[in-house]
């Protein structure tokens, strides 16, 4: 079931005009920022499909930038987001792509600062619901509605078992999990969505494992 809650249907409370093109874009921007972990110095936003054709009219650009700034979907400052980003010194580039995407409302966001670069792709499913479909080249399906861990790890046996055992000891229930890898034996990405929030100490213990490179924590 794609939609799990009545509030996916009656909601979100949002700034108009489009739940898929405005509220959804805010959500994708928020998730990209959260996954990046900080305010970027620059952002390149690539619009595909219906987003590419209509992003100006729906204020999809304005909405995605509002999300990058961390504004919620019903924040009255959303219409001024580009101006706010400029005041914070964030360089913005908007590109309407010609390529036809798998989903009609697709947005790729590339973020950068002195510490590194990051790339994420999200699709807007309608009604303000989104799914992140790619992070730094790894494919995934992340709604961002549940607490989640994105664990970049060595593609080696035992890693997944070790992580899930730690969650079991912390009494955290997994509601969705998937693994994707770039190449056998190299880096893999484990995405674990949980019912409960995972405490920072538990995340710290996971990060101390030799096969774990990096963990991104998502707490909606």
């Amino acid at each position: 079931m794609k939609y799990r809650s009545v509030f996916d249907i009656i909601g979100p409370v949002m700034i108009g005009p489009s739940s898929s093109h405005t509220a959804g874009a805010v959500r994708i921007g928020q998730l990209a920022r959260t996954l990046f972990g900080r305010t970027p110095d620059s952002a390149v936003l690539r619009f595909y499909g219906s987003f590419a054709k209509t992003y100006r009219g729906h204020a999809t650009d304005v909405a995605a930038v509002a999300g990058l700034l961390g504004l919620p979907t019903d924040d009255p400052r959303i219409p001024q987001s580009i101006e706010l980003a400029r005041q914070q010194g964030i360089a913005l580039t908007f590109i309407a792509e010609e390529a036809i995407p798998a989903h009609p409302n697709t947005l790729t966001i590339e973020l950068a600062d002195g510490r590194g670069t990051f790339r994420a792709t999200g699709v807007s499913l309608g009604g303000g619901l989104v799914q992140m479909t790619e992070v730094d080249g790894f494919s995934l399906k992340l709604s961002g509605d549940s607490p989640a861990l994105l664990i970049f790890h060595r593609d080696a046996y035992g890693t997944i078992a070790a992580i899930t055992q730690q969650l079991a000891r912390a009494q955290v229930n997994i509601n969705h999990m998937e693994v994707s890898r770039s190449e056998r034996g190299k880096t893999a990405l484990m995405v674990i969505e949980t019912d409960e929030k995972v405490e920072p100490e538990v995340v710290g213990q996971m990060e101390s494992q030799s096969n774990v490179f990096k963990i991104i924590t998502l707490n909606p």
Binding site: V6, I10, V13
Partner: protein
């Protein structure tokens, strides 16, 4: 747990619940949920709907200048005694237009199920609240009824115009509003489900063809039409009329029609009204990049 309308109605009958009660029960299946907190959150959604419905009557305009002011015209028309009568449908239509004009003007709305269709449900419910003299608590339960229907449609078809055309947006909203209206008026779960089916049937095939891709024309006026159809479908269901094609099959038909719609008729502003002379003129005006905006 219900996956389709048949399950929903059957389980409601077995457990002696309304569709609204079923939706609440489903929501409580998620671990860590609290009934009072869920209800309180829904009560907030209803207040947002009310505020947006009133705001649009003042006559605001969108940033493009394409829409606005029509809710005010209808309000004045009602105040001065409309020559064609003054029923629930007209009052629902006025509020539906009002909410969607607020949406077009980048105001605060509650998507239900989407922002493009955010006028239908509040339009119908606010008019019904005044007509039936219901409390906000009763109206909040009506949002759970609407949510149950929307939940089934969204999980078995789609609710966005980009995926399924306007039938997926206004069609779903009208189905949700019709069911909510039936339960509000004391109808049975089965009647509510048939009201939803009859509302959706009347909007099957409707394409998403907004001028310049904006959620304005014809969206605002289709919210009016969706509200009117919801009221009509609720009347029929309460009279005992059933949808000849069962609700789940109507939803499946909507899904199949959506899949077969050309991409030009799914929110891309390349077909239908968007491709008319007027539509093309708006596109020309609004899609030409403003110098400096491309690299802000």
């Amino acid at each position: 747990m219900f996956r389709n309308m048949k399950d929903l109605v059957h389980q409601a009958q077995e457990q002696g619940l309304s569709l609204a009660g079923m939706m609440m029960a489903q929501e409580l299946e998620t671990p860590g949920q609290d009934k009072d907190a869920i209800f309180a959150r829904m009560a907030v959604q209803y207040q947002v709907m009310k505020q947006s419905a009133r705001r649009g009557l003042e006559g605001l305009r969108s940033r493009s200048g394409m829409t606005g002011g029509d809710a005010k015209l209808l309000e004045e028309y009602i105040q001065h005694g409309p020559v064609l009568g003054d029923g629930l449908g007209l009052r629902a239509t006025r509020y539906a237009i009002s909410v969607n004009e607020v949406n077009a003007a980048m105001g605060v709305v509650c998507a239900s199920p989407t922002a493009g269709s955010c006028g239908v449900l509040p339009g119908v419910l606010l008019a019904a609240q005044e007509h039936l003299d219901k409390t906000d608590e009763e109206m909040t339960w009506a949002l759970f009824t609407a949510g149950a229907v929307g939940y089934v449609i969204a999980n078995n078809a789609f609710v966005s115009g980009a995926q399924g055309g306007c039938q997926a947006e206004i069609g779903s909203a009208a189905a949700m509003a019709a069911a909510a209206l039936v339960e509000l008026a004391g109808g049975s779960p089965e009647q509510a489900a048939h009201a939803a089916a009859m509302a959706l049937k009347n909007l099957l095939g409707l394409v998403c063809d907004p001028l310049a891709g904006l959620v304005e024309v014809p969206c605002v006026k289709r919210n009016a039409g969706g509200a009117a159809i919801a009221v009509t479908a609720a009347h029929m269901a309460l009279a005992g009329i059933k949808s000849h094609v069962p609700p789940d099959e109507v939803i499946e038909a909507m899904y199949q029609i959506g899949l077969s719609l050309s991409p030009t008729l799914r929110e891309t502003a390349q077909g239908g009204l968007a491709a008319t002379e007027t539509g093309n003129a708006w596109k020309q005006q609004l899609w030409n990049p403003v110098p400096g905006q491309e690299d802000a």
